[in-house]
Symmetry: C2
């Protein structure tokens, strides 16, 4: 049987757009992760910020707010999507994580290329 995203997804760590890049970086280090979905006051997803975006801020010398560096057109998945499809989406967009969104549009998880790579470990 095919595996579904819900069986491999992690608990998401969410942040607001007006968070400082420094605070977002601290959160990545504290939790040992690279990807933070960004939500608005109604808890709808409006972006994603990763350690790559933080590196981009360092490269440009402008370390300000998350909303200035986040990607706004977010590629997402759902709990019942097959992991092969999730892997295909990440490959097509050259990204390494997909926020998992339920029918209400709330972020209920996140699946990363690390989660999928683990499935190959004997």
């Amino acid at each position: 049987a095919t595996k579904l995203v819900r069986s491999v997804m992690d608990k998401p760590v969410l942040i607001y757009p007006d968070t400082s890049v420094e605070k977002a970086a601290k959160l990545m280090i504290e939790k040992g992760l690279n990807h933070l979905p960004v939500i608005d006051k109604e808890k709808k997803i409006i972006g994603i910020v990763t350690s790559w975006d933080v590196a981009k801020a360092v490269a440009s010398g402008k370390i300000g707010k998350v909303e200035e560096i986040m990607t706004k057109k977010v590629i997402t998945t759902t709990p019942d999507e097959a992991i092969e499809l999730a892997a295909k989406k990440m490959e097509m967009h050259d990204i390494s994580a997909l926020p998992v969104v339920n029918k209400d549009g709330r972020v209920v998880g996140i699946v990363t290329s690390e989660d999928l790579s683990k499935l190959l470990a004997r």
Copy 2:
């Protein structure tokens, strides 16, 4: 037949320890990647620096040289290692890339959890 690391590895982008964190970040953005093996003058691997380490530098407010933020005890693989073993190593150490080192100790590639995740895409 089992797949070997050599069939999925990427061309590595290598840097020296005295490189600035800012320059390392610029290289990650320019090349669209997150992991840079660090080599000495004899081209031997002495560390690895990732976008996560750059985030850690931002979190601590100290953006200096690569040698100050790189991980020195590097987990590596070889071209002829089975991808399942490479995946197992990354899982065990909670890392998302392995420099690929040949018999001379030279870095000839890099394999990431993104490379392995792509194998699951239909």
